[in-house]
């Protein structure tokens, strides 16, 4: 798919900007701080309803304005859809599809598909496990939208269960009423949790080959990249290990032992692990087992990536994780004209010449690539795109 027209009104640093785009590569070039990333962010927001830079909407709106408007014309094959998203801080966003009546913002999810690469992606490799859990969950929701509900159900059950554990701890003993209520929350936690877990494992199954391939393609291939799901669920299998601390086991096993279990088996394993951790959970007043404490362990060769990978390797691995999403989305919808749009926000500056070339070769397959760069020379010639110059609040050819 590709975008032929974007218009931003009061979005970030832009009062009003209209851009005509074409399939192929477009490079937005300009000095730091003029608003290149804002364009990338706007497109990413239109696709996912979340920004890769901030978690609340207020900074997206031009300082002093009430609301921002992002409009785009999206082409999929010979079908064109006009999208319009109104972002209002502290209120529900509203959207319009093809100038029809306004709909809920989430109704536009799935119409525009993008995969965004940004410097923030380094956190996927170097950051907390929560970054990698969110990565898996976001792909899961993109592939199977109904899992958005699984995720929010799980979070809510978790809050209730933690509240109960805390009150049990505060009262100093586990009364029979606490115990019977706890088992009810266990049941609900496990039901939502095993669904989420099964979903994540499936997503990882779809991604892991692509992650390894992409990393291979970006580097000389001397260290294979691996991604392994380490779950706090499954304590029955090795109950001596502290299940609250996944990630210290870096044995060479390429696959998680849970990978082949179906939802019912995960359900049973989850319940067993909860039972084993009961004492500890009551001591700490916290739920210690479940997808919310799991980890996606990334490895390069025999060593874990976190802490061991160099800056360049970290970047390549982060890019590989995003490329894998692109490939998985392409596989998920193989109709012509359905390939997601790639947005490369300031990624070339960090890579050496050979990796730049390799990345350019890998992304050449996409129908549309949007690149931002402070130094045009950083963008390899292979991409030979149209260059647009970005100045403060303006864009010109």
């Amino acid at each position: 798919m590709y975008i032929s027209h974007v218009s931003l009104t009061d979005f970030r640093s832009y009062r009003q900007v209209d851009l005509e785009l074409v399939p192929g590569t477009t490079v937005f070039a300009g000095p730091n701080g003029v608003g290149k990333t804002n364009i990338a962010e706007a497109l990413g927001y239109l696709a996912s309803l979340s920004s890769h830079r901030v978690s609340n909407d207020a900074p997206l709106i031009y300082f002093g304005a009430d609301q921002a408007l992002v409009r785009a014309r999206v082409h999929r094959g010979d079908q064109a859809v006009g999208l319009e998203l109104e972002i209002t801080a502290g209120k529900a966003n509203r959207a319009r599809i093809n100038r029809a009546n306004t709909v809920r913002a989430r109704d536009i999810l799935g119409i525009l598909r993008t995969v965004l690469f940004a410097p923030e992606d380094l956190a996927l490799v170097k950051g907390d496990p929560s970054e990698r859990r969110r990565y898996l969950d976001d792909v899961l929701v993109a592939l199977q939208p109904h899992h958005a509900a699984t995720r929010s159900d799980y979070d809510r059950v978790l809050k209730q269960r933690n509240a109960l554990l805390k009150s049990a701890r505060a009262s100093g003993r586990l009364s029979s009423s606490h115990e019977s209520t706890l088992s009810v929350w266990d049941e609900h936690l496990v039901t939502a949790g095993s669904k989420l877990l099964r979903g994540r494992l499936e997503v990882l199954g779809a991604l892991e080959g692509h992650i390894a391939d992409a990393y291979d393609g970006l580097t000389d291939g001397s260290k294979p990249a691996t991604a392994r799901y380490m779950s706090t669920v499954g304590g029955a299998m090795d109950d001596e290990q502290d299940q609250g601390q996944p990630g210290n086991g870096t044995s060479g096993t390429p696959r998680s032992p849970l990978m082949d279990l179906d939802e019912g088996e995960l359900h049973a394993a989850f319940l067993r692990s909860l039972a084993l951790q009961r004492r500890k959970e009551l001591d700490r007043g916290l739920t210690l087992v479940g997808p919310h404490r799991d980890e996606l362990v990334l490895g390069l060769g025999t060593a874990p990536a976190k802490g061991y990978a160099s800056h360049g390797e970290t970047w390549s691995l982060a890019l590989s994780l995003r490329l894998a999403v692109y490939r998985a989305l392409c596989e998920d919808d193989s109709r012509p004209g359905s390939k997601p749009i790639l947005i490369l926000d300031d990624v070339f500056a960090e890579l050496d010449v050979s990796r730049r070339r390799k990345l350019a070769a890998v992304v050449a397959d996409a129908e549309q690539v949007i690149v931002t760069a402070a130094v045009v020379e950083d963008v390899p010639d292979e991409l030979n795109g149209r260059i647009l110059t970005v100045g403060p609040g303006t864009v010109s050819a």
Binding site: H146, R156, V157, Q160, L164, T181, V184, W185, E187, H188
Partner: protein, 198 residues
Amino acid sequence: MYEGAVQELIDEFGRLPGIGPKSAQRIAFHILEADREDMNRLADAIRAVKDKVKFCSVCFNVTEDETCNICRDPRRDETVLCVVEESKDVMAVERTRSFRGRYHVLGGSINPIAGVGPDQLHIRELLGRLHDDKIAEVIIATDPNLEGEATATYLARMLSTIGIKISRLASGLPVGGDLEYADEVTLGRAFEGRRVMS
């Protein structure tokens, strides 16, 4: 800030559910300008509701007597009991006119964040009622949200040992609606709870 009585009234209204400071002020000034007689009736109604209305000693529905008129009605089916969270849920089920059994009002749902556990609900009284062998079926009609479902699971577990038939209200598509307007969660639930037709 207004002086004395006016501000006091605004503050009182502000404590009511669903009323913010602006609405509280509007209601207070409405009362100030309204007929004395009308407002006395309102004050009497509030006083009466606090003096007269109690909770039914059997089912905990609101009533002006010792027991509510549903519990007293001999034509109601004694063998079926519908368990709901609040008195207003009794009214909702009554409007269907298709349920002829009796009720039990729990007084809320299990919600650890709000500090509500089984002991704060009328569950012990429910068990007491079930010792009477006349009841053959319990229909659990708690809200179809997380807390309501947890309460339903809790009740189902407690009651399973007694050997009474336990059922739960179905959840799924609204009647008269369009499939395309149903959200993913509701539609997903409808799929899980589908019925075999032949």
